[in-house]
Amino acid sequence: MAQPLVKKDDDRDDEAEYSPFLGIEKGAVLQEARIFNDPQLDPRRCSQVITKLLYLLNQGESFTKVEATEVFFAVTKLFQSKDIGLRRMVYLMIKELSPSADEVIIVTSSLMRDMNSKTDMYRANAIRVLCRITDGTLLTQIERYLKQAIVDKNPVVASAALVSGFHLLQTNPEIVKRWSNEVQEAVQSRAALVQFHALALLHQIRQNDRLAVSKLVTSLTRGTVRSPLAQCLLIRYTSQVIRESSNVQNGDRPFYDYLEGCLRHKAEMVIFEAARAITELSGVTSRELTPAITVLQLFLSSSKPVLRFAAVRTLNKVAMTHPMAVTNCNIDMESLISDQNRSIATLAITTLLKTGNESSVDRLMKQITNFMSDIADEFKIVVVEAIRSLCLKFPLKYRSLMNFLSNILREEGGFEYKKAIVDSIVFLIRDIPDAKESGLLHLCEFIEDCEFTYLSTQILHFLGIEGPKTSDPSKYIRYIYNRVILENATVRASAVSTLAKFGAMVDSLKPRIFVLLRRCLFDSDDEVRDRATLYLNTLGGDGTVVETDKDVKDFLFGSLDIPLVNLETSLKNYEPSEKPFDISSVPREVKSQPLAEKKAPGKKPTGLGAPPPGPTSAIDAYEKLLSSIPEFSSFGKLFKSSAPVELTEAETEYAVNVVKHIFDRHVVFQYNCTNTIPEQMLENVIVIVDASEAEEFSEVASKPLRSLPYDTPGQTFVAFEKPEGVPAVGKFSNMLRFIVKEVDPSTGEAEDDGVEDEYQLEDLEVLAADYMLKVGVSNFKNAWDSMDPDTERVDEYGLGPRESLAEAVSAVISLLGMQPCEGTESIPSNSRSHTCLLSGVYIGNVKVLVRLSFGIDAQREVAMKLAVRSDDEAVSDAIHEIVASG
C-alpha cells in the first residue's frame, strides 16, 4: 500500500520542479515548426509547437523578419487541417505574428472562406483575424460581410464584428461610419454583450453629433439595458449630455432621476458610475449630492478593497469642491486610516484633512502619526502637502501641525520627502508669524543630522535671512557653526555666509561672529576661506565694532541683480590682464522670461506629482528684473505685481500678456511678448499705450525690446506716474508697434530691411484690487480686536439677484483683492447666510481687515454688510468706495 503513495509524491515533486518549457530555445522551436509543412499533419503536435511559439512571444522574444515570414507561411498550411482546436490556435497565431501587407494576401482567401462558413465560430474568428491584419483596400471588399455580421443572430459573430469596427474606426473612419444603421439595430439586441459593444461603437461613430447622442441617451434611458457594462456606458454618455445641455438651473436637471435610479441598481459598478456622475455634475446642489454620498458611504465599509478604494477616491474628489457634503462620512473614513491597502489609507487621510474642522485636527494628527511609519515616501509627500494646506486653513493649530512636521522630519526618508517637509515648514514660517521661532529651531535641529547637502544649504540661507530678526538670534549660532566644523565644503561655505549675515544684522553678536569667521580662514577648502576673508573685510573685522553700512547689507542680503547666464558669458570672455573684471560691464538685459511666468496658471501639482518648487516667490523675480532696468530703479520698493493678464487670444501671431507692477508713485506695465511666426524677426518692439481713459496717469518712460526672434519670449516696459499713495484706476488701450523682418528659413538669418507694422492688443485696466496685497492673519478675531474701533466703517449694500451666495462672495473677494482668512471663502452649499473674513495690506503699507456678512433670500437677492477696520480711517473709507463703485 505504501508504494503507490510514495510514487504519487514523486510525481508531485516532478510537477513542481520541471516546467514544460524548461530549456526552450527559439532556434529549436522554429526548427520544430517545420512539421506544419508535413503532408500528414499531426494536430496535437502542431498545437504544442504553436503553444511554444506563443510562449516565446509572450516572454518578450522577437522574431526576425525572415523568421516571422517563415513561421507565418508554415502556419497558413494548417488551414488544411479540419481539427477544430488547431484551427483556433492558428487564428491566434496569425494575429500574434501580425504579418506585413504583402504576406496577408496568402491567408486572405482562407479567411474569406471561413468568414462565409456555415460554422458560426469560424465566421467570428475569421472576422477578428481579418480586421486585425487588413488594410483599407481589403476592407472595402469585405465590408458587405461585416455589415451582415453586425446583425448576425449569433451574438459571438455580432460582437466580433462590432469590436472589430471599434478598432477599424481609428484607421478607416469613413467606412465604419457607413455601418451606423446596422449598429443601431444591434443596440436593440437581446444579447447583453452585443448591446454593450454596439452602444460603445455607436457612440464612437456619433460622438461629434450632439443631437444624435442626446437622442440615443433619451431612448435608452427609457428602454432596457441588459448588461451592467452597457449601463455604465449609458451613464457616462448621459453625463456628457447633461454637461453639454444648456444650464437649466431653475427647473429640475434633465436625466437626474435616471442617474438617481441607477444608485439602486444591483450591480456595484453601475451604482458607482451613477454616484460619480452625480458628484461631477456642474453646480451640483447638496440635495442632489446626498443620495450619491449615502451609497458611497456604505461602500467605505465594504469587505472588498476595490470597492473601498473606489468609494474613497470618489469622496476625495468631492471633498475638494464640497467638503461639507462629505463630513458625514468622516467616522467611516477614520477607520480606513488603518486600512491594509496604503492607497486607500492615504486617500482617506487626505480627504479627512480637507473635511475636518478645527476641533478634530489634534485627534487626526495622532492617528496620522501612527500611520506614517509604514507607508512609502510618495504617499507621505501627499500627506505632507495636505497638512500644509490644512495649517494655512487653521493657523491657530500651527503648534500641533508644526510638531508633527518636525517629528516626521527626524524619521528616515528620501530626498523628495524631506524636501516636501522642509518646504512646508518654510511656508508656515512665512505665513504664520507665531510659528517662526519654533519652526526655525526645528530646521536647526534637522541640519544637525541632515544627509542632503541641498537641503542643508537652503535651510542655512533661510536661517541667515530670518534668524537675525528673531528675539534671540544668538541661539542659532551654535547650530550654524557646527556645520562649519562637521560638514562638507559646500555646506561649510553656506554656513560661513549665514554667520556673516548674523554679524551684519546683530551688532551685539559681531565680536563673537568675528572670532568664528577668523577660525574659518584656516579651512581646507578655498571657497570657505575666500568667503571668510571677504566677509571679515566687508564687516570690518579688524577689531573695531561699528554699525554695518547699508552698502554691505545690500551686498549680503540683496539679490544678485545680474542674470547668471550673462555673468557666465562675460566671465568666459574675460581675458586675464592687469585690468580687473568689472561687474558693471555685464549686460543686464534678460533674454528669457523670468521663471514665475513660465508656470502655466492653474497647473498645480496633484497626486504623486513633484512637490512645488522651493521658497523663491514671483515677486522676488520681478523685483530683481525691474531693479536691473536703470529707468525704473528710482521708483522705490515694488508694492505688488499682478498675475499676467492676456492681451491676445490664444494661437495668434504674437502672444502678449501684461503684468502690472505697482509702486508708490508709479505703475509699470511689463508686456511679455512671444513671436509665433518662424519666418519673422521683430525689432524695436514697443507698446504704444493710450491713457486718455486714465486721467491720473502720465507716461514717464518706456523701454523697447531690441529684438524678438521666433519663439523666444521677450519683454518691453512702459511706466506711468500717478499721484502718490492714491489708488488711481483707469483703462489703457494698447498697440504693439515693431519693425518686422523676413527670416530665411534655410539659414535662419533675417533680411537687412524691415517694414514697420502695428498689431492691436486688448485693453488693460488698473483696478482698485491692484493696490491691495493679499496678506493673511493667523487669528482674525485677535487682529480685529487689536485694531482701533474708531477706524471702523460699516455700511450695507444690495448686490441684486445672484446665481448663488458663493458666486456673490467670490465676486466681492476678487473685487477687493484681499486674502480670505480661516477658510471663510468656502461656503456650505444651500446656506442662506455667510460671514467672510478678509485681510490685506493697502498701498502705503496700511493693514486692512474686512468682515463681510451676506444673506440671500428666496428671489436670490443678495444683501451684504461690510465692516472695515484699518490703520488709517481714510483707507476704511476707500474700501467702501471700491465696493460702492464696483
Binding site: A16, N58, G60, M89, V156, V163, C232, L608
Partner: protein, 147 residues
C-alpha cells in the same frame, strides 16, 4: 483602454505579458513596477482577493491565484471597477481551464488554452467576453449555449 495584462510566478518571473498602447520602451518599466508591487503586497493574500493601486492616472488591480500573480492595468474608462470585472473574468477562466487555482507547472501545462482564453477576453485593449462558460466553449470553437 486596458493597457496591460500580466501573469508572473511567485518569484516575479513573467509568464504572460500583453500590452496594448504602451510604447515598447515603457514596458520594461511597467513590468518591474508591477512585479515589485506584487512582491510588496501579495504575500499572504488569499486566492482571488483583489488588491488595488493607482499610479498617476493609471489604475492597477491585481491578485494571486495559486502560484500565479495576475495584474491588469487600465486607464480612462478602465478604472478600478472595470478592471475588477476584467480580472474576475480572467481568474475564473484560468481556474476553469486548470480545474483549480494553478501551480506554476499546471499553468504552463495549460499555457496554450490560457492564451486562447485571454484572446477571447481582451481584444487589443477592449473587454470582449465576460462569461467563463462561454469562453470555455469559444476556445474550442463551440458556439455559446444560448444560440
Amino acid at each position: 483602454m486596458l493597457l496591460a495584462v500580466l501573469f508572473a510566478n511567485s518569484e516575479g518571473n513573467i509568464l504572460v505579458e500583453r500590452f496594448n498602447g504602451v510604447p515598447a520602451e515603457e514596458r520594461l518599466h511597467w513590468r518591474s513596477f508591477l512585479v515589485k508591487l506584487g512582491a510588496d503586497n501579495l504575500k499572504g493574500v488569499k486566492n482571488e482577493e483583489l488588491l488595488v493601486a493607482c499610479h498617476k492616472s493609471v489604475y492597477i488591480v491585481y491578485t494571486v491565484l495559486g502560484d500565479v500573480s495576475i495584474f491588469v492595468v487600465g486607464k480612462d474608462a478602465y478604472d478600478e471597477l472595470a478592471l475588477a470585472e476584467v480580472i474576475f473574468v480572467i481568474t475564473s477562466a484560468v481556474k476553469d481551464v486548470c480545474g483549480k487555482p494553478p501551480t506554476e507547472r499546471l499553468f504552463l501545462d495549460k499555457y496554450g488554452k490560457i492564451c486562447l482564453c485571454l484572446d477571447e477576453i481582451v481584444w487589443k485593449g477592449l473587454l470582449e467576453n465576460t462569461e467563463k462558460d462561454r469562453i470555455k466553449r469559444l476556445i474550442r470553437l463551440k458556439p455559446p449555449t444560448e444560440v
